[in-house]
């Protein structure tokens, strides 16, 4: 199939950037990123600079990839990261617009690559359980109800890709932050610090320049791991109870 690609090209963070149009010949078995590999090989053959895009595992787990494809972070398929998207979902003659995430907390570095280090700083602010390496109690000392462990896992499945931010009209990072807060708060080990954690992480999130959450839930729709917005409600509970200092339910 012949495709027309309109790709965002930007030399550096300071460059203004613009769309460039390319033609590429793809086949339905290719993944989306393999299609871009083919384009890059052609650009290199013409001695032009290839399109910079980030990727690593190509299995939907590392969270490195993440393109905005025809306006949707990670493209059209639900629960699918960019690297897992295949060309059989496109047809001959399609025009595909490919952009980087747009969020002031994720500045563009080059072409389609953005800087997501704000997420690391949010985790550093408190996204952990304060335990040193040593000799903790036996792993089976605290039984954890199967469903509770599963819920924690559902939140822990977040790959830190940032699509939720890109999907949100306010560029809010609430889904990401709430997933981490929930993962830990749902486990007895993580409960102890839950309030302090929520407060510290939200404070850092604000400092990084992410927007406010206004319950649009576009984040959930685009999240490749289908992280639920119920986590945001849980974060709000942890956060409010921590700032008020009582167990207020909201």
């Amino acid at each position: 199939m012949k495709l027309t690609l309109k790709i965002w090209r930007q030399k550096s963070p300071k460059d203004k950037g613009r769309f460039e149009t390319y033609q590429v010949e793809a086949n339905p078995h290719m993944s989306f990123l393999e299609m871009l590999d083919v384009l890059n090989e052609e650009l290199i053959a013409r001695k032009e600079e290839p399109v910079t895009f980030e990727h690593d595992c190509r299995e939907g787990i590392c969270g490195t990839c993440g393109l905005v494809i025809n306006g949707q972070p990670h493209g059209p398929n639900q629960g699918t990261a960019t690297c897992q998207l295949h060309m059989r979902f496109y047809k001959d003659g399609d025009i595909i617009v490919i952009e980087p995430y747009r969020a002031s907390a994720f500045p563009v570095l080059k072409d389609l690559a953005v800087d997501r280090s704000a997420f690391d700083r949010i985790i550093q602010a408190g996204g952990f359980i304060s335990v040193n390496t040593g000799a903790p109690q036996d792993g089976n000392a605290i039984p954890i109800e199967k469903d509770q462990a599963a819920k924690s896992f559902d939140a822990a499945a977040c790959i830190g890709c940032g699509a939720c931010v890109a999907a949100c009209p306010n560029a809010s990072a609430m889904l990401f932050v709430s997933a981490k807060v929930s993962h830990l708060a749902l486990l007895p080990q993580g409960k102890v610090e839950a309030k302090r954690r929520a407060q510290a992480m939200v404070k850092q999130m604000d400092a990084e320049g992410f927007g406010m959450c206004s319950n649009i839930t576009a984040c959930e729709a685009e999240c490749p791991k289908e992280i639920s917005v119920t986590n945001i409600a849980r974060l709000n509970r942890e956060y409010l109870s921590s700032s008020i200092g009582t167990e207020t339910k909201v």
């Binding site: 690593d56 595992c57 359980i129 335990v131 040193n132 109800e145």
Partner: protein
């Protein structure tokens, strides 16, 4: 340089405890003055950096990724072993030790493996304390499953994302140390050289991948945790950016590379579908519990399937060859990875492959679906259910067990594995070889340590499933933080190093010249095309089976390709910029040199063992033939540059606790 395994004396089971109790320590006030460089933030690197930070050392940690959380460890699926014996099925430290030595085909060091089995138990406790959401049973206790090559249930898991959850645990611990100022984190920085001063490892040269700037970093010692080199084959299940540069640069500075030809080829991966492909996807080993592997008996049928004229369902039962069940009646589809992979290759070599490329065999769940369906129908009191009803029930059971894998398969191939058998083929997965280390995980260069997949230490010639995660975390949390004190306790009076010293300036200059040389070729072929060609040579001649003629030929081919690379490669962009093509170019340049060494190593080892199968050394039935008399050693290679042959140093393996036996799965 020293080449002594430094295994402490005493009975096997007491070595580690006794040694730890008598080790030299570094006092807290001295720790604060000591700097340690850790390269890598996978399970091994992140756990080490976090723990060293907690102990009070000044740690500088480097990764080429944009975040520590993206290291390749994140992709591990199946699980992590530990000798907890929660299942009460007779597991013990000794049994895990024994299984690992045997699984590795008797080519690893007893003392290291025993220590690994000992600390495996602490890893689970540590991970639970960090909030790793392992699978639980209805009683709320940790659940286990079994993996290939063993008879107990000792694998802990977090759905199909065990690596992700363990890495997030280590990443969080590391993040806490970064916040406390004990670890300084350098993301998007790639180590391009090791710096030695006075014969000891004292620093590294890194390239800031966003600006292209070269930086010199000094420390009292250097820890590498930079992962495996499976991508020398171009196509592998490793993440795209995995590479050998850090360990290869260390090798070029005098560190020994051990058993580089020991590569693990995993039998169940999704086959390649075209030339544009650059990455292969693993389908978990657990599928072989219920899937049956087969090819058509007749070449005509195989051809018709390849051409799309027939499907698997058109082949009558009598015309199918369930070759693992036929060749290995005792273990059937559950033979170890190396054995299963080779058998699939033999079938495809005979013209029986079932993908258009000729390189695939079937993994069929039909029997499992019907069997589970019948049993479900029986248990729910259905009488005379139709085949369609049985199938429906069976598909449900299979979905519960393997749903996420079936979905992943369908996402990639567009075929529904409930209706047609999966097509699978072996792919490069893990590298047992790596930097030679002693009992302290120190290389032969004093002050240079290697952890995780980048060292050679624990898996011999074949790694068992779920043991890499265990080793990475054992090294990083529970071994290195102790053993590094043996070196550092003699360094407390050593002042901080000056990164402007001559050794550093020279190394930076070398690195710059190396990069400029690649940029300046300005030829006509892309880096990718060279990598693809190198991978093909490695796969054809140093892959699943090897022979002396092929290996000799491959060595020449690699040398020629390397010459061509430096004559005709084209690297776009500039040095002083964010330039992924340049990153690739220098990684591929190092793969050429490593690839040649792998071939030399494979040629030297005149025996077959584990993942290393030399066609000349096999039994009449085509099984691997080990030569314990002459090859029960670790081959540690000293690199001498392009023009000279590498020099072999042998570490003889002494087996005092296990008896060497032939592995048989018949």
């Amino acid at each position: 340089m020293s080449f002594d395994s430094n295994v402490p004396p005493g009975p096997l089971a007491e070595k580690w405890t006794r040694y730890r109790g008598t080790m030299n320590l570094v006092a807290p006030n001295n720790k604060r003055r000591i700097e340690i460089i850790v390269v890598g933030t996978g399970l091994a690197g992140a756990s080490a950096a976090a723990t060293l930070g907690e102990l009070g050392y000044n740690v500088k940690c480097f990764t080429f990724h944009d975040s520590p959380r993206r290291a390749h460890s994140i992709a591990a699926q199946g699980g992590i072993n530990a000798a907890k014996n929660y299942a009460n099925d007779g597991d013990s430290v000794y049994r895990l030790f024994y299984d690992t030595i045997k699984g590795g085909d008797y080519r690893s060091r007893e003392s290291n493996v025993h220590r690994l089995a000992e600390v495996s138990r602490n890893i689970i406790d540590q991970a639970v304390a960090q909030g790793v959401p392992f699978a639980r049973d209805y009683g709320g206790l940790l659940d286990n499953r079994s993996f290939g090559g063993v008879q107990v249930s000792r694998t802990f898991y977090a759905r199909g994302q065990t690596g992700q959850q363990l890495l997030l645990g280590a990443y969080q611990a590391l993040s806490r140390q970064i916040a406390e100022g004990n670890v300084q984190m350098y993301n998007r920085h790639e180590m391009l050289d090791l710096v030695l001063a006075g014969g000891k490892a004292r620093g590294i040269i890194v390239r800031n991948l966003l600006t292209g700037e070269l930086e010199r970093h000094a420390a009292h010692c250097v820890v590498l945790a930079t992962g495996g080199y499976g991508n020398v084959f171009y196509l592998s299940t490793n993440a795209m950016n995995c590479n050998v540069t850090a360990s290869w640069r260390a090798t070029r500075r005098g560190a020994y590379m051990a058993n580089p030809c020991f590569t693990q080829i995993h039998p169940t991966c999704i086959p390649q579908s075209g030339d544009y492909q650059s990455k292969l996807t693993l389908m978990s080993e657990s599928l072989r519990n219920d899937g049956r592997v087969w090819v058509p008996k007749k070449q005509d049928d195989a051809k018709a399937i390849r051409e799309g004229k027939k499907t698997a369902n058109d082949i009558a039962e009598a015309d199918r060859d369930y070759f693992l069940e036929r060749r290995y009646p005792a273990f059937g589809n559950l033979v170890p990875r190396d054995v299963a992979s080779r058998a699939a290759k033999v079938a495809c070599d005979e013209g029986l492959g079932v993908a258009p490329t000729g390189l695939a065999v079937f993994l069929d769940f039909e029997d499992a679906i019907m069997r589970y369906g019948r049993s479900k129908a029986h248990s729910t009191g259905m009488h005379n259910p139709s085949d369609a009803e049985v199938r429906k029930l069976g598909e449900k059971v299979v979905e519960e067990k393997y749903g996420n894998l079936f979905e992943m398969y369908e996402k990639i191939t567009g075929e529904d594995p409930y209706k047609l058998p999966m097509k699978i083929y072996p792919a490069v997965h893990y590298t047992m070889g790596g930097l030679w280390v002693d009992y302290n995980l120190e290389t032969n260069i004093p002050g240079l340590f290697a952890l995780g997949e980048c060292n050679f230490s624990d898996h011999g010639a074949n790694r068992l499933g779920a043991s890499a995660l265990m080793q990475g975390l054992a090294d990083g949390y529970f071994v290195l933080p102790y053993t590094i004190g043996q070196f550092l306790s003699n360094e407390i009076r050593t002042p901080k190093f000056d990164p402007n010293a001559k050794e550093f300036m020279d190394a930076e200059k070398d690195t710059r010249e190396r990069l400029e040389r690649m940029m300046n070729v300005k030829g006509n072929q892309s880096v990718e095309s060279f990598h693809r060609r190198l991978g093909k040579i490695m796969w054809d001649y140093c892959g699943m089976s090897r022979n002396a003629d092929g290996l000799k030929k491959a060595r020449k081919m690699i040398q020629e390709l390397r010459e061509e690379f430096y004559r005709d490669v084209f690297v776009p962009g500039s040095i002083n910029d964010y330039n992924p093509e340049l990153e690739k170019a220098q990684r591929v340049a190092d793969f050429f040199e490593l690839g040649e060494l792998m071939v030399v190593d494979a040629l030297n080892r005149n025996e077959s063992c584990g993942g290393h199968f030399r066609e000349e050394y096999q039994t009449e039935e085509g099984e691997a033939l080990r030569d314990d008399e002459n090859y029960a050693y670790v081959a540690a290679w000293e690199y001498k540059g392009w023009e000279e042959d590498p020099v072999l140093h042998k570490e003889e393996l002494v087996f005092e606790n296990v008896e060497l036996k032939t592995r048989s799965y018949k």
